[in-house]
Symmetry: C2
């Protein structure tokens, strides 16, 4: 077990350095990392093969083994990602608002990094590079805890991240690797040194983190996504969107778990949809009305709030748009929910009333992703409502400061009326 | 004790209504409330006088009694505040970013309300109107818990808020009053129904709330504000800013608690400053170097991290700008900190490296306030770094949704290369 207090302390010191670093140094570190990854690829692949061999003997599932693999293809993706990230403009030191408060006293709201961020991620080793590079670009320090299965690969990758930082004149300790669950437990206690925890993983895991730390947590607990087929849906489009939302990849958080269909559309839509699902071996669990139209197992109340991540779908027939919205707000996880309809009024009501990070009209729920949204990459998808919502990229890794530049103004003068508030919007950048 | 689960449930239902309401209804409610307050002022004043009489028999302190008072002057302020708030543009349904993802598929990031917000505030009854009106304007539901001393006044005010909502076609239950500490304890359990708690009060109180709820908390724990007199400070300005920061009002969170002074400036500055403080009966606690220059009690380590809210000041002599910054980042509360200097380079380093919501150059810390910043009003001052930082007004009460408007796009088509990502910035408002 590591001394997490000491590690977090070094993270904090490094944060103060990287937070004021030039964007050129931060970009240089990203490009240097891309170089180092290519240079040292045989070492990385070797470590990854050892991890893989061990995981095989431990009989990890095929999808897990697949996620663990870090070969030439993943390397190329990661290198491209780093170059793309280096070309994006600096997310720091942007003046968001500027206001003259009184004569000679100007207020600037300026973007700044958050601080020390602990990220706990799953077995994909490429996630380490993605997360570390987003934190470097945004001037934050990061504590990285990856999956146990990928430890050797993560060690090799983290060493290169640290070398890239040093080579670019930035503190290597702004990226540090944690190794064990005990490290995570200890990290959760360091609320005076760590500003944010981003856990990626199961619902119960995220809950555990939230219940065991005073550090703010941004994570997604569950992805219970819905598609609602409105009575005014185009049936062909409905079929396409619903099938893609369910089966394009069943094991991801933005896959559909519950289909809602208007009672006027159900007799036409459900039999066609059922045929498509049967062809793909999807088990259907329906409410009484659905079971009268298509052969399916009866759904229990638990089904409506279950994230299957599997070839299972729950189906409910609703009598109105409002019933669909109420069901989603009650049972959903505020991740991503879609309406298929040709009626703009119904779409508008759905988009406004459904209380989710992503509200979609006529498009598969599978589009909920940071790259797809054009954010470059994502550190995670937030289902809470504060700070960041949905796919969380560079912007989610920044906060702001109010910089107030005066010339000796006192509140005493203001209260006595010697000066008065002007509150003129300036639209200028902070000059210091 | 109230049934908080039932109350929070009604808050949530009301949220779904007020969240989609027209801005005209929300503004009408604010103006109607201003009318009702004037109409019913004798009733309010009567209730307030009862509260005051009881508080006197309970021997509340004079400052507390003063805060409790709600008379003609407060009423006029509150009415003016409501009219000003009604004239501000709608914080909801703004498109922040718009992007074409692929042909016929557009993404809009649109501002939306947060949901159900629980606010716990101190004895000032005018705070009830301020908080409730900010929540109405921003389309949120609010659960209000004020100081026990002001219960009668708060009852009268909350009834008018609810009447103003009804009279404007909005759900009265989007503003509900809680009465007891037990109500607060019960409220903290309703994490499935409540989205945010904003506690105003002591550091230990805010900590208590954070430790006893899964609901996200935005609050300020402490206001340990610093003024640093740099070696390049203008001595007259330094004196003005330091005196105002300390004594203009000692009992508020943005008052200075620790003065840091560069060793080259200390022999000149401290004696003059000490004279000013002595005239105002401020007790000074200094480090060894300060005590060699002016007569003062020795400061202990606890002094550096104490929010006195009183006529007491701790003073430390530092040998460099960096030492001042390190002291502030270590002992401060990330609220508001100021440098007095004529050296722009030093100011720039200070503003960038000090990790606080407000970083000031040559101006009193007393300016940290939502009204002063031009935010209209504030629900509180956030010393955390996520979501909202510093004085938190209307913007802090909103979040955003991603609205994705398509025409049947599937991820399957994207993966097969039938369509490709365009990621064109649109700069247009969401059309639905």
């Amino acid at each position: 077990m590591k001394d997490l207090h000491e590690i977090a302390g070094r993270s904090r010191q490094s944060f103060y350095q990287i937070s004021v670093s030039d964007i050129n140094s931060r970009n240089a570190a990203l490009l240097r990392l891309a170089e180092l990854l290519v240079q040292e690829k045989s070492l990385i692949f070797e470590e990854n093969q050892k991890d893989y061999a061990l995981a095989e003997t431990e009989q990890l599932s095929l999808p897990l083994l697949h996620r663990l693999t870090f070969g030439e293809e993943k390397l190329q993706q990661v290198v491209l990602g780093l170059k793309a990230l280096a070309s994006i403009e600096d997310p720091l030191n942007h003046t968001l608002v500027s206001t003259e408060i009184t004569e000679g006293l100007n207020l600037y709201k300026v973007t700044s990094p958050i601080g020390v961020i602990g990220v706990i991620f799953e077995s994909r080793p490429d996630a380490l590079i993605q997360i570390a590079s987003l934190c470097i670009k945004s001037g934050n320090s990061v504590l990285l805890k990856g999956g146990r299965e990928a430890l050797g690969t993560n060690h090799a990758l983290a060493a290169l991240v640290r070398q890239a930082l040093s080579d670019s004149g930035l503190p290597a300790d702004s990226a540090q690797l944690l190794e064990t669950r005990e490290d995570v437990t200890e990290m959760l206690k360091e609320d005076a040194l760590i500003d944010l925890i981003i856990p990626r993983g199961s619902n119960s895991f995220v809950r555990y983190i939230m219940d065991h730390s005073r550090i703010p947590v941004l994570g997604h607990s569950d992805g219970i996504c819905h598609v609602f087929i409105d009575e005014y849906a185009n049936p062909d489009m409905a079929l396409k969107v619903a099938v893609d939302s369910k089966v394009q990849n069943v094991s991801v958080c933005n896959a559909m778990e519950t289909l809602l269909v208007h009672e006027h559309m159900a007799p036409l839509f459900l039999p066609r949809f059922f045929t498509e699902l049967s062809d793909r071996n999807v088990e259907v669990r329906g409410d009484a009305a659905a079971c009268r139209i298509i052969p399916c197992k009866p759904a229990s109340d638990i089904d409506w709030s279950t994230e299957y991540l599997d070839y299972i779908l729950s189906v409910k027939v609703v009598s109105s748009l409002q019933e669909a919205i109420d069901h989603i707000n009650r049972y959903g996880s505020h991740h991503t929910d879609c309406i298929v309809t040709d009626n703009q009024q119904n779409a508008s009501v759905f988009l406004k009333m459904v209380d989710s990070a992503g509200v979609y009209w006529n498009v598969s729920t599978r589009f909920a992703d940071g790259f797809v949204y054009g954010l470059g990459a994502e550190v995670g998808i937030a289902t809470g409502k504060l700070h960041a919502r949905g796919p969380m990229g560079l912007e989610g890794l920044t906060t702001y400061k109010y910089m107030l530049l005066g010339s000796g103004q006192t509140m005493d003068d203001m209260k006595k009326g010697i000066r008065s508030y002007t509150h003129i919007r300036l639209d200028e950048d902070c000059p210091v």
